[in-house]
C-alpha cells in the first residue's frame, strides 16, 4: 500500500467499501457510457442489499452514475440532483450468485442503448469490474481502460494494437458472438491515448469506449 493510500484518499463517509467503492463502480459506468444515462437500475447483492441505506451506498451509487467525484460534498444531496436531471432510477435486490458480498450490477439506458456492468467493492475503496455487457473481466480501474467490440476475425487484434501508441499493461480478448463475428477486447493502459478516433475508424472496430482513470 503506498503512502498516499495510507494517508488518504479524500472521500465522503462513512465507509470506503460502502461509499467510495460503490461510487467508483458507478462512476466507471458513467465514464464508460460517456455521460449521464436516462435510466438506471442498481441491482444490489449480499451486504450491499442488506445495509445500503445505513451506509449511504444508495447515494454513492447515484452520485457515481451522475458523474460526481468521490469528494464532492453534494453527494449527500444526490437524490435532489438526480431529480433535477430527470434521472429514472431503481434499486433492486437480487442474489447474483457466488460473487463478493459487496457487489452491484448496474443497468443503464442512454441514447437508446442498454449497457450492463457488474462490479464489486473489495475493500479500502478498491473495486473490481467483473462483467461488461455480459462479458466476464477483472478490471481494477487503476489503469486507463479501453473497451472495444471488434470483429472476431484474423488480424483484428493486431490492427488495434498497432494503432495504440502507449504501453499496454493488461489485455483481455473474449468472443461474444460467433455468428455475428463479435469479440470484446479490454485493454488496460499505462497512459491515456490521444488517438481514440483512429481506433474507432478501424474497419474491425464496431464500438470503442475509453475510460480514463480518476487521478
Amino acid at each position: 500500500m503506498n503512502l498516499l493510500k495510507v494517508v488518504g484518499p479524500v472521500m465522503v463517509g462513512p465507509s470506503s467499501s460502502h461509499t467510495l467503492g460503490a461510487l467508483r463502480i458507478a462512476r466507471f459506468v458513467y465514464k464508460f457510457i460517456e455521460g449521464r444515462p436516462e435510466e438506471v437500475s442498481f441491482i444490489l447483492h449480499g451486504s450491499f442489499s442488506k445495509t445500503y441505506k445505513g451506509h449511504g451506498t444508495d447515494r454513492a451509487l447515484l452520485a457515481g452514475i451522475l458523474g460526481l467525484r468521490q469528494d464532492d460534498p453534494e453527494i449527500k444531496n444526490v437524490y435532489e440532483i438526480a431529480d433535477k436531471f430527470n434521472l429514472k432510477y431503481r434499486f433492486l435486490f437480487e442474489d447474483l450468485g457466488d460473487v463478493h458480498p459487496n457487489t452491484v450490477r448496474i443497468r443503464v439506458l442512454k441514447d437508446g442503448m442498454t449497457h450492463e456492468v457488474e462490479g464489486s467493492s473489495i475493500g479500502g475503496g478498491d473495486i473490481k469490474i467483473t462483467f461488461i455487457d455480459s462479458v466476464p473481466c477483472e478490471l481494477s480501474w487503476d489503469y486507463d481502460t479501453l473497451v472495444i467490440v471488434n470483429r472476431d476475425a484474423p488480424n483484428a487484434l493486431k490492427s488495434i494494437l498497432s494503432t495504440i501508441k502507449v504501453n499496454v499493461a493488461n489485455l483481455y480478448l473474449r468472443r461474444v458472438n460467433l455468428l455475428q463475428e463479435r469479440a470484446l477486447t479490454i485493454i488496460e493502459l499505462d497512459e491515456p491515448i490521444n488517438n481514440l478516433e483512429e481506433i474507432r475508424k478501424l474497419p474491425c472496430v464496431f464500438e470503442c469506449y475509453f475510460i480514463r482513470r480518476d487521478d
Binding site: V6, V12, K53, D72
Partner: protein
C-alpha cells in the same frame, strides 16, 4: 516495505520526514516533491473540515449518533487540557461528519478519520505552527501508518479496531511528538506506546454501521495519542520496539474470531440494546 528500524537508522543524518519521502520514492518511483504536494492537499482538507465541522450537530445515516461533538463543545472541561479538549471535540466532529456522508480524509480509514484532524486542529489553535511544520509532522504520521499497513493491516475487517483506530492514534502520537521534538526515536516510542495500549481492541459496530462505538472511540483514542506522546517526550521508552509491537498486533488481529472483525455480530454489537436498536432501524432502512 517500510520497516521502522530502517527508517530510524536512516534518520540519523537526514530529517525523519525527508527519510519517509525518500523511501516512498524508492518504492513507487514518484518524485518526493509530488508526494509532498499531494499530502499537503490532504492536510488542507483535514484542516478545512476540522474548522467547518467543529462542534456541529450532524444528521447521521442511522441517527444513532450526531450530537456528541455539539454536547462536548457546549461543556466546560473539568479534566482535559485546552489542547486535549479541542482535539476531542474535533475528533468527534469529524467522526460524526463521516457518519453523515460528509467529506473526510480516510486517514488512515474512514471509520478512524477523526483522530488525525483532532491533533492537527488542536495544534493549529494552541501552538499556531507554520503549514510546513504541520506538513512535516503529517508526513511522519503517514510513515508510521505505512509501517503498520506494510507489516500488518489497517483494516478493521482484517485486524479488528486495534488496526484501524490503533493505527490512527499511533500516527497521531508520532505526529505530535515530531512536531515538538523532531526526534525520530521518540516518535517511534510514542507510536509503540499507543499501539500497546489498545492492543486487542475489537471491531464491533452496532448493525455494521460506522457509528456506535466508532464515533466515540475517535474521541477517546485521540487522548491516548496525546498521553503517549507526552510520555515519549518526557523520555519514557517503549520496552518493546515499534516494529515488534506491530508484528504482535498483527498476530492478535488474525487470532480474533470473525465475529469481532467488522461483522457486527460480536462485542457490543451483540448486546440486547444493540439488537433492539438494529431491529428498529431496519424498519426504515429496508
Amino acid at each position: 516495505m517500510f520497516i521502522w528500524k530502517d527508517i530510524l537508522e536512516m534518520s540519523r543524518n537526514i530529517p525523519l520526514h525527508q527519510v519517509i519521502l525518500n523511501m516512498e520514492m524508492f518504492e513507487t518511483g514518484v518524485d518526493p516533491d509530488e508526494i509532498k504536494e499531494k499530502l499537503s492537499k490532504m492536510l488542507k482538507v483535514i484542516l478545512e473540515e476540522a474548522e467547518t465541522q467543529y462542534g456541529k450537530k450532524h444528521e447521521t445515516l442511522t441517527g444513532m449518533t450526531g450530537d456528541n461533538a455539539f454536547k462536548l463543545r457546549n461543556h466546560t472541561p473539568n479534566f482535559l487540557s485546552k489542547f486535549s479538549y479541542m482535539a476531542t471535540v474535533t475528533a468527534l466532529s469529524i467522526a460524526e461528519s463521516n457518519a453523515s456522508m460528509g467529506r473526510i480524509v480516510a486517514c488512515p480509514t474512514a471509520g478512524a478519520s477523526g483522530v488525525i484532524p483532532g491533533v492537527f486542529n488542536a495544534m493549529v489553535k494552541i501552538f499556531n505552527p507554520t503549514f510546513e511544520e504541520m506538513l512535516e509532522a503529517f508526513i511522519v504520521a503517514g510513515g508510521i501508518g505505512k509501517v503498520i499497513a506494510d507489516k500488518a493491516t489497517i483494516s478493521g475487517a482484517a485486524g479488528g479496531c486495534q488496526a484501524e483506530i490503533g493505527t490512527a492514534a499511533a500516527m497521531a502520537s508520532g505526529a505530535l511528538t515530531y512536531y515538538i521534538a523532531k526526534d525520530a526515536e521518540k516518535v517511534g516510542n510514542a507510536a509503540a506506546l499507543t499501539l500497546k495500549s489498545i492492543m486487542g481492541l475489537v471491531c464491533d459496530p452496532v448493525g455494521g454501521f460506522v457509528e456506535v462505538p466508532c464515533v466515540k472511540r475517535n474521541g477517546n483514542l485521540v487522548n491516548i495519542a496525546i498521553s503517549s506522546s507526552e510520555m515519549a517526550l518526557s523520555g519514557i521508552k517503549s520496552v518493546i520496539p515499534f516494529d515488534e509491537v506491530v508484528d504482535a498486533m498483527k498476530k492478535v488481529g488474525s487470532s480474533l474470531p470473525q465475529s469481532l472483525r467488522e461483522t457486527g455480530e460480536g462485542g457490543i454489537a451483540n448486546t440486547q440494546t444493540a439488537k433492539s436498536l438494529v431491529s428498529n432501524l431496519k424498519i426504515f432502512l429496508l
